[in-house]
Amino acid sequence: MSVHMLIAGFGGQGVLFAGKIIAYTGMIEEKQVSWLPSYGPEMRGGTANCSVCIDDKPIGCPIVLNPKTLMVMNRPSYDKFINEVQPGGTVVLDSTLIEADSTRDDITVCAIPATQMANDNGLHGLANIIMLGQTLKATGFCSMDVLKEAMKRCIPARKQHLLEPNLRALQMGYDY
C-alpha cells in the first residue's frame, strides 16, 4: 500500500516525529520512502508540517500537496489543508483543538480528542502518537507490528523508557 500523507499541527506537537515513525514503516517494508518537513524561521510556535511518501517505485516529488491522508492537530492547519485532501481521502483530526466544520462529503473524517485523551491518561505530549494510532486504524497503511517496530527504531537508545508510554498511546489511539 502506498502512503501519501501530510501531518500538520503547531510546532512542538510532535508532528515531525509522528511523520518520521510512518516513514520508518516504509523502510521496514523495504519500500521507497521520503519524509520532508516544512521548515520556517520561527523557532517555536507557528505551524509545522511534514510530507511522507511510501511507494514501490522511486518517489518523484516528495512534497505532498494533495494528501490521500491528512493528520491534523491545529485549526490553522485544518483550514489550510482541508480542501487539498484528495477525494476519497481520509482526515484524522484532534477534536480537542479543532471543531471540524468542513462541508466536504467526499472524504472520511475521523475526529479523536487526542490532546484531551493524552492529558487524561498521563500521556502528556503524546497526543501525536494517539493520533497516529487512530490514523493507522482509519487507513491501515501498515500492520500494527510494523508500526510498533518503527516506533522502537525512532526512539533513541537512551530514551527507551519512553517506549512504553508511546506504545500505550498508540494502542489507545487505535482503540478509540
Binding site: 520508518y24 521548515y39 518517489i59 518523484g60 516529488c61 516528495p62
Partner: protein, 353 residues
C-alpha cells in the same frame, strides 16, 4: 547488504564525507544546511578530526584553503548568500590548484531571499563562483542516496584534477529524509607531494600560490588548468537519461526538480505522450553530447528549473538551433508541481492524448 538508514540529506552528506576520509570541516551556520555542521560537530571531535565553526563563510573557505594546502581532505558547506561570500576564496583555491569539496544547499534569492528550495545559483556554480577564468566540478544529486554516492567521487576527482568540487543541492534535498546505504568501499585521500606540510629539511619548500605578476606566466598556468578541464570534459560527464530513447519531447532538469519532472514524464506517458528526461548529474562538465543528440532528434525540449531560467541557456547553447528549447520555472522557493510540468509537456507535445 549494507544497513539502511533514514537520514536527512544534510546528515547523509556529513556522514558520507567522513566515511570518505574528510575529517576536517569548517562551516558557518545557515538555513537550510545547519544539520551538516551539527552532525560534524557531533562526530569529528570523537575521531580526532576538526570541526570548526568559523567566524564567517569567508573565514571558513580560507580555512579550507589552508587545510587543503596541507594535504588533508577539507570541506565547507553553506547556502546561497554564504556561498556568495566564498567567491574570492573559491577563486583562490582554484587558482592555487587545490582540491576541496564545497556544498551549496541553495535557497531562494537574491539577497536574503527566503529559506525554501531554489536552483537560482546555477550560473554562479557553473560559470562564476568568483573572478577570473576557472571552473569547478559541479555535482547535482537528486536523491539522498545519490548525495552519498557522489561525495567520494567529488573528493577523488577534486584531487585527481587538483580543483575544487561543488555539490549543488537545494533546501528540499538537504531537509528531506530518505533511506540510504553507505557503500562499503570508500575513497581515500590521494598522496599530495605538493602539500605544505613542512620541508623536514629534505626538500625544497612547497609553495601554494595564485599570484603571477608576469602575464605570460599567469597565462601559462591558466592554460595548463584549462588543458585539464578539457580532459575532464572528455571523461567525467555524468548524466542520466530516462525514457529518452523513443521520446518525442525531452525535458531537461537536475537535482530535486528532476524528481518532479520524472513524475511528470511518467504522467505524460500515461497520457500517451512520449516524453523523456535528461538529468545532468554533473553540471560542469555539462552533458553537451546528450543535449546535442537529443536536440537532433526532437522538435521540442523543455528545461525545468527552480529559477528564472539559467541552465536553459546551456541547453540552448548545445542544442544550437537544432530544436526549440522552452523553459518552465518557478522561483523564490516554490517547487514546481508535476501537474504544472505536465501542462507544459502537453503544450509543446502537440495535443497528444
Amino acid at each position: 547488504m549494507a544497513e539502511k538508514y533514514l537520514m536527512k540529506g544534510n546528515e547523509a552528506i556529513a556522514e558520507a564525507a567522513i566515511r570518505n576520509g574528510c575529517i576536517h570541516f569548517f562551516g558557518y551556520p545557515i538555513t537550510p544546511q545547519t544539520e551538516v555542521s551539527a552532525y560534524m560537530s557531533k562526530v569529528l571531535p570523537k575521531i580526532g578530526g576538526t570541526f570548526l565553526q568559523a567566524e564567517s563563510e569567508i573565514a571558513a573557505i580560507n580555512m579550507v584553503l589552508g587545510a587543503a594546502s596541507c594535504g588533508v581532505r577539507a570541506m565547507t558547506s553553506s547556502s546561497s548568500p554564504g556561498i556568495s561570500l566564498k567567491s574570492e576564496g573559491v577563486s583562490y583555491i582554484a587558482g592555487s590548484d587545490l582540491p576541496c569539496v564545497i556544498l551549496n544547499v541553495m535557497r531562494g534569492g537574491p539577497g536574503l531571499g527566503g529559506i525554501q528550495p531554489s536552483q537560482a545559483d546555477y550560473w554562479q556554480a557553473t560559470k562564476a563562483l568568483g573572478h577570473g577564468d576557472f571552473q569547478l566540478l559541479v555535482f547535482a544529486p537528486a536523491t539522498v542516496q545519490e548525495i552519498v554516492n557522489l561525495i567520494g567521487t567529488a573528493f577523488d576527482l577534486a584531487e585527481k584534477y587538483r580543483m575544487p568540487a561543488l555539490i549543488l543541492a537545494d533546501g528540499m534535498l538537504g531537509q528531506m529524509m530518505e533511506p540510504v546505504e553507505f557503500p562499503e568501499t570508500v575513497s581515500k585521500p590521494a598522496e599530495k607531494p605538493y602539500a605544505t606540510t613542512g620541508t623536514q629539511g629534505k626538500r625544497k619548500p612547497n609553495i601554494t600560490n595564485s599570484l603571477y605578476l608576469k602575464p605570460d606566466e599567469l597565462e601559462r598556468t591558466v592554460r595548463e588548468r584549462f588543458a585539464r578541464y578539457d580532459v575532464i570534459k572528455q571523461n567525467e560527464v555524468r548524466c542520466e537519461e530516462y525514457l529518452t530513447d523513443d521520446a518525442d519531447i525531452i525535458l531537461v532538469a537536475y537535482g530535486a526538480t528532476a524528481r518532479v519532472v520524472r513524475s511528470a514524464v511518467e504522467d505524460a506517458r500515461a497520457c500517451g505522450i512520449k516524453a523523456g528526461l535528461i538529468r545532468p548529474i554533473t553540471l560542469w562538465p555539462f552533458p553537451e553530447e546528450a543535449i546535442r543528440k537529443a536536440a537532433a532528434r526532437v522538435d521540442h525540449m523543455i528545461t525545468v528549473e527552480m529559477s528564472m531560467g539559467q541552465m536553459v541557456e546551456d541547453v540552448r547553447l548545445y542544442a544550437n538551433g537544432q530544436c526549440d528549447v522552452h523553459f518552465f520555472g518557478r522561483t523564490g522557493g516554490i517547487v514546481p508541481t508535476p501537474a504544472e510540468v505536465l501542462e507544459q509537456i502537453k503544450k509543446y507535445a502537440g495535443g497528444a492524448e
